[in-house]
């Protein structure tokens, strides 16, 4: 890795940080560089202080770094917020327009460019973010034609006037930026060979749903799940797809169930509080054996918590809600590729086993941009797990909940033939009618539970990086990038470290977990919650007690260095 630059663009909400960020990422991607970028924003629409932080490299990067090499400050507060994180070679660039106000000494060492003035020249104050992007890219050494192409592309949906204004803005910024000397500037590759795909976790989830032949998404807006729906909505014209904003989350999950019952792959996406409202429905999917997929995009709670931040604290909630026991899948992908492939798997597993599947992501994964290098496999066809009249000796004798060895009853669709499909959220007989009989109840519970061994058989073991290491960091979900990089850091610090990462969490693959975890001399849980939720689950399921924990619950993502440092401290 000869290039590893972190650029932070800070400003108030409403200053167009997203555009600056998108442009930077696209230029890097187009140039054939690697990158990953996080979005850190407050729960407000204007003002406050947000930032976009991109890490650019010539080798794959899958986690953010804390030290900032180049800070592009669109407002004064960003200088105050981020200066402490500036690296040795760090540079601050700000708008000259804002240089006269603020505390004394604040502008010390800050390089100013007349961003707003240049924007006005280019076609209006609104293009200030494009000026900033142009300047920033010039400071990094990006060639103008690459920037120009990207800007042209990025605004291609807009009018010619808007495109031209933005090109002019980028050019003015670029010209101005070229005068800035920055130690971190580097030689940009000429090849223009894009490495992998550039997308957010939210994009990956939306694409995964489409690859799974999902045709209905019912949802109620909630950060950080909304971007998945926004991404999906942008593709609506190309697919037989209905996206419906429900009146609340209860409706969303029940609509999803109605759709699945009627034979269409459907999902809903929400976050913790919305998921809480869906839990009764989750139980209905359990007892009616209806294949729904729920994406729970985690954020810190409880209640409203930190609505635009990240966390991983809903694991036991997803396992154990609602009342009584019922089988379900819980999958927590770690990378964007994993998100995509997991969505495809979640639908497949849900339909194969007629059980709900929960995909656990989080704000970090949904809102961050990554380069996906791994396989994202679009299935050639969708297995058909339902039957029709033709598959039945006597359609009029069809029984939705027939007892079978696998516990899975053949599923027919309503109004698809002569077979009547009867589904009921009370305990039911094999024909779907209510029963109060004790024996039948027991058998129905056992029928549902009997799917679990096969469901567990579908669960993949934790993936490991240096699996034979003495010290094993253990995590799940979105932390895989930071975990692996922390391991590399620890190893270069001389520690025999490795990590195990779980995507498949329920039914818990206890044996596989035990095999991987037992080998290590020391196990340290690394989780985005305050109580080491996976640690508790591992103890419950395997008896293995973790030897330490690195827990983060301030709403911010993990940085590899902070994991490594915490591990070093604990193992000293």
């Amino acid at each position: 890795m000869s290039i590893d630059i972190t650029v932070t663009v800070g400003g108030a909400a409403g200053q167009g940080l997203q555009t600056v960020g998108d442009l930077l990422a696209r230029v890097c991607h187009r140039a054939g560089l690697y990158l990953m970028a996080i979005n850190d924003f407050e729960s407000r629409i204007r003002g406050g202080n947000n930032f976009f932080q991109i890490r650019i490299s010539d080798a794959p990067v899958n986690a953010p770094r804390q030290p900032v090499d180049l800070l592009v400050a669109l407002d004064r507060r960003s200088i105050r917020e981020h200066r402490p994180r500036l690296s040795d070679r760090g540079l601050i660039m700000a708008d000259a327009g804002s240089s006269n106000k603020g505390e004394k000494g604040e502008m010390e060492g800050v390089f100013t460019l007349p961003i707003r003035d240049l924007a006005k020249e280019a076609g209006g104050a609104i293009t200030a973010n494009t000026v900033a992007a142009g300047a920033c890219l010039a400071i990094l050494g990006a060639p103008w034609d690459l920037v120009r192409e990207t800007v042209e592309d990025f605004f291609s949906g807009k009018s010619r006037k808007v495109i031209d204004q933005n090109i002019a803005a980028a050019e003015k910024g670029h010209e101005a930026g070229r005068s800035v000397k920055f130690q971190g500037a580097f030689q940009w590759p000429d090849g223009r060979e894009r490495k992998g795909r550039l997308l957010t976790g939210a994009d990956a989830a939306a694409l995964g749903a489409l690859a799974a032949d999902c045709r209905i998404a019912a949802f109620y807006p909630m950060s950080p799940a909304t971007p998945i729906l926004v991404s999906l909505a942008s593709h609506i014209d190309r697919f037989p797809l209905v996206l419906e904003q429900a009146e609340d989350e209860i409706a969303a999950v029940n609509m999803t169930m109605g759709a699945a019952f009627a034979g269409v792959r459907a999902f809903t996406a929400t976050s913790g509080g919305g998921f809480a409202l869906m839990t009764e429905g989750l139980g209905l999917a359990g007892i009616t054996e209806t294949p729904i997929v729920i994406v729970n995009a985690q954020r810190p709670g409880p209640a409203t918590g930190l609505p635009t931040r990240t966390g991983q604290a809903d694991l036991p909630f997803c396992i154990h809600s609602p009342q009584d026991d019922s089988p379900r899948f819980i999958l927590a992908p770690g990378t964007v590729e994993d998100v995509f492939n997991t969505m495809v798997r979640a639908f497949d597993l849900a339909w194969k086993y007629q059980a709900p599947a929960i995909v656990l992501v989080d704000q970090y994964l949904c809102d961050s941009m990554f380069i996906a290098l791994g396989e994202m496999t679009v299935p050639e066809s969708i297995p058909i797990y339902t039957i029709t009249d033709a598959d039945m000796p006597d359609p009029s004798a069809y029984q939705r909940y027939a007892f079978t060895e696998s516990g899975i009853s053949p599923m027919a669709l309503p109004c698809a033939g002569q077979a009547l499909v009867k589904v009921c959220g009370n305990e039911h007989r094999v024909d779907g009618h209510i029963t109060e009989d004790a024996t039948l109840r027991r058998r129905m519970v056992e029928k549902r539970q009997s799917k679990i061994p096969a469901m567990r058989g579908e669960m993949r073991p934790p993936s490991a990086h240096h699996p034979d290491a003495e010290t094993l960091l253990v995590g799940w979900g979105s932390t895989i990038g930071p975990l692996r990089e922390a391991v590399d850091m620890l190893r270069s610090d001389g520690m025999d470290a490795g990590c195990a990462h779980f995507t498949d969490l329920w039914p818990f693959p206890a044996e596989a977990a035990e095999r991987v975890l037992k080998k290590a001399g020391r196990r340290i849980m690394v989780e985005g919650n305050a109580t080491a939720q996976l640690g508790a689950l591992i103890r419950e399921q395997t008896g293995i007690v973790a030897d330490g924990t690195v827990l983060k619950y301030d709403g911010r993502p993990f940085f590899p260095r902070e994991i490594a440092d915490a591990v070093l401290e604990q193992t000293r």
Binding site: P240, N254, A262
Partner: protein
């Protein structure tokens, strides 16, 4: 016309003898038969309560879901397959209490569903607590001092939300009710029939007798269903004279018809196009 016997089911009926629900059940069968919709072409979605049990007592496809949540399930099912005839059986508690928010949305969404609200003005299955439609002053074991909330009137609220088909029925007028159900099924859009249904076990106020004495049928002479103001007024008539019939009807474009992609056929029948997904993926 299909034979009404086709809808006969031998699953034991669990309602109280004399319950108004029997009238609704028979009217449903009659209406489906009259419209030639065989059991295999209808889907009935229901919530929890005595009303929610209805689909067990006739032969049909059904989804008997959660208390209050029949309408969203029906909406999802209809979105997936808009070729199905979808009916909803729901109680006054189910639809206007626990499920109130879905009722509001269903009217606004105008999905082509027929909603039959079995309005017995009480929570029947849970043994007689007040429901949103209970008369003020009605006492129950938990409302010992009598109900102090003003009653919910489904038709008024539906009208205030711009509903296109609003009717009131009475379980004691089977033929009339069957006619309403048929009109509702034929209507393209959300159709509400609020049905007065005596509960002989828990409601001593709104009885067979009281309804038999007070209901009268709307006719072309005494009401114009295109007149919204008149419809509002029908809702506000006192208990002495209770109009039954179609309060209001106007043409609307149903939910499905507003969605381009559904005009090409039900979602459930479409085919998967992996190449299209791959192409999209390749734009990233």
């Amino acid at each position: 016309m299909t034979d009404v016997e086709l809808y006969h089911n031998d699953y034991e009926n669990k309602w109280c003898p004399g319950c108004g629900n029997f009238g609704i059940l028979e009217a449903m069968k009659d209406a489906l038969a009259g419209l030639d919709i065989p059991p295999s072409k209808a889907l009935i979605v229901s919530g929890i309560g005595q009303a929610g049990k209805t689909p067990h007592f006739l032969k049909c496809n059904f989804f008997h879901g959660l208390h209050g949540r029949a309408l969203p399930v029906a909406t999802g099912a209809k979105m997936a397959n808009n070729d199905m005839t979808v009916l909803v059986n729901t109680g006054d508690g189910d639809c206007y209490g626990e499920g109130g928010n879905h009722f509001l949305a269903a009217v606004r969404r105008n999905v082509d569903i027929t909603a039959l609200v079995h309005n017995n003005k009480v929570y029947g299955l849970t043994k007689g607590q007040a429901s949103p439609t209970s008369d003020m002053g009605m006492t129950t074991k938990v409302q010992g001092k009598g109900v102090i909330l003003s009653p919910f009137d489904g038709p008024s609220v539906a009208l205030s939300l711009g509903a296109g088909f609003v009717a009131r029925g009475f379980a004691g007028r089977m033929d009339h009710l069957s006619g309403l159900i048929q009109a509702a099924i034929r209507y393209s859009g959300f159709a509400l029939i609020d049905i007065f249904q005596p509960c002989v076990s828990f409601n001593r106020r709104n009885t067979w007798q009281s309804y038999n004495e007070s209901v009268y049928e709307l006719t072309e002479e005494n009401h114009d269903p295109a007149d919204l103001d008149a419809a509002f007024k029908l809702c506000r008539q006192g208990d002495e004279k209770i109009p039954i019939g179609i309060f209001y009807q106007k043409e609307t474009v149903s939910f499905s018809d507003r969605i381009e992609v559904l005009r090409e056929g039900p979602l459930v029948s479409r085919t998967f196009a992996p190449a299209r997904v791959q192409n999209l993926l390749n734009t990233y």
